[in-house]
Structure formats: structure tokens, C-alpha cells
Symmetry: C2
Subunit: 126 residues, 2 copies
Amino acid sequence: MGIIRKTVSIDLLLNEFEQESNAISAVDLIKRLDKQINKTTIYRVLDKLEDDGVLHSFLGFDGVKWYAKCKGCTKSVHKDFHPHFQCLSCGTVDCLNIHVNIPEIPNREVLFSQLLIQGKCEACAA
Amino acid sequence: MGIIRKTVSIDLLLNEFEQESNAISAVDLIKRLDKQINKTTIYRVLDKLEDDGVLHSFLGFDGVKWYAKCKGCTKSVHKDFHPHFQCLSCGTVDCLNIHVNIPEIPNREVLFSQLLIQGKCEACAA
DNA sequence: CTCGTTAATGCAACCGAGTTGCAAATATAG
DNA sequence: CTATATTTGCAACTCGGTTGCATTAACGAG
């Protein structure tokens, strides 16, 4: 469906992603914007921003939804496949700027893939 | 904690995995064994079987938990890293017997990784 | 085989992420 | 400024998974 009107909720959400270079979970956004936006609205706006290619989403290791800014995606083409990294100590999640080659698989048509790498981030590995 | 006593529930669950070469979701197991085992028990037995290295678990694209037989894992060492494939048409999920190389990442310690490939399986691609 | 200990089970209630229906509020074209 | 269609908030709901607790069953000792 996508964004049609410019509203306060959209501004507030986009602002969170401006301030933050990492990915942000939906749950965390709901906490941060608790007094300002209803959680239903947050889920709906995130959906639309994803439709519009502004954000992309993926699941963390516990199955909760995370969002991060897209680079070079459009409404129709989400070309931006990359792995995500989740720190097992601090929980931080971010996009990895590396390419991982997914092999062809006999007799199957590969359409998408999601790679979640877990470990310790720079701060926590020290 | 692991399996200590041999019970009917364990037999029933293991039997499902004998009959089936694909992965099975917890939800599906609950449906299949509805009249025979309580869902709480199913979750608990699956946990233990995973502890013992008999099964391994991972999340499907919608965040639901799947289980499949382990090959060559023990209680202490889950050495069996491999990607999983989920068919977007029929929903079937299985383990892929291929190795995908996860690159080193500067300043981070990589411990695990989960790769979920989505597409069409042999039956559905035709 | 019987008994006692302890693990396993069933049940009901709960939790938390995400969704839905609907009425009220608000953005925007005209 | 007004009309209209989109957004929002709220409350209630869905559903996968978990927890507490009382009951049942596995199994080793005798």
C-alpha cells in the first residue's frame, strides 16, 4: 500500500532510524515511542515504510521483527540482500556490508534467503 | 537437561521424525499428536531431544519453530551447521546438505549462523 | 513383584508479539 | 474552508510458546 500522507507518526519513526545506525526491533520502537504513538500504528507505519523500500525487515534469533534502513531499494525492487549480525551479549543487531554467495540448489528455485550471524560485536568481544 | 526416562511421549515424537525426512514444525507436531500428547509436553520433549543432540531447531520465515533430526551431534557438540530450505508454495521445510561459507567479519567474533533459503521445492517448481 | 523416589505429564492460566474492527481524528485536494 | 479518504487509537483478539502445580508414570532398590 505504501505511504500516502505525511504524518507525525511517520516523522517520529523515521527520526529514530536517522539517529540510529543499527537495526531497531519493533518491540524496541514501541517502547521508545510509547507515549507518542500507539503500537498498532507503529506496526502499520513500519509495514508501509517497508512497502516503499525505505526500511527492510528480518527476524532476530528469537523470532522478533527487526527493521533497518534500506540502501538502494525501491517500492518494487528490494535488491538489498545482505546478512545481519546479532550480538549475543548486548543484543545489538546490524546489517553487514558483505556479500555471501548462496549456491544454486539442484531442482529448486531459490528466491530469497536470510542469513543471521550470531556472535560478539566489537564492544562485547573485547 | 536431557532425556532421563523412556516414555510414551518420546516414542511418539521420535516416531514422527522416523516417518518424515523433512523438518516438522512444533505447531504441526501438536496438530498431529493432538489426541495423544499435550502441547506442553511436546514442547518439553522437543527441548530435551534438542539438548541431547537428537534434534536441532531453527525458525521458519514466519518465526515459527521447526525441528529436524541431527546427524552427528552429541549432547555437548552441535557441529551440524547447515542451511534450511522453505518452499514458499507448499510450506515444506528441509535441511540442505550443502556447506555455505560464512566469511570472517572484522572485529567480530562469529559463533553461530542461521541461513534460511526460500523458494520453490522440486514438486512446486514444476 | 512392590514400593518409594523422582521425572514426566496434563491442565489451566498466562505471556508477549503481532493483528483486526471500528469509531474518531487528521492530512490534503479542491 | 470543506469534503473525503487516509491514519490513528483503542480494545479486544489471535496464536505460538511458557509456567506453576497437582497428578501420573518410569524405574531402581529391595
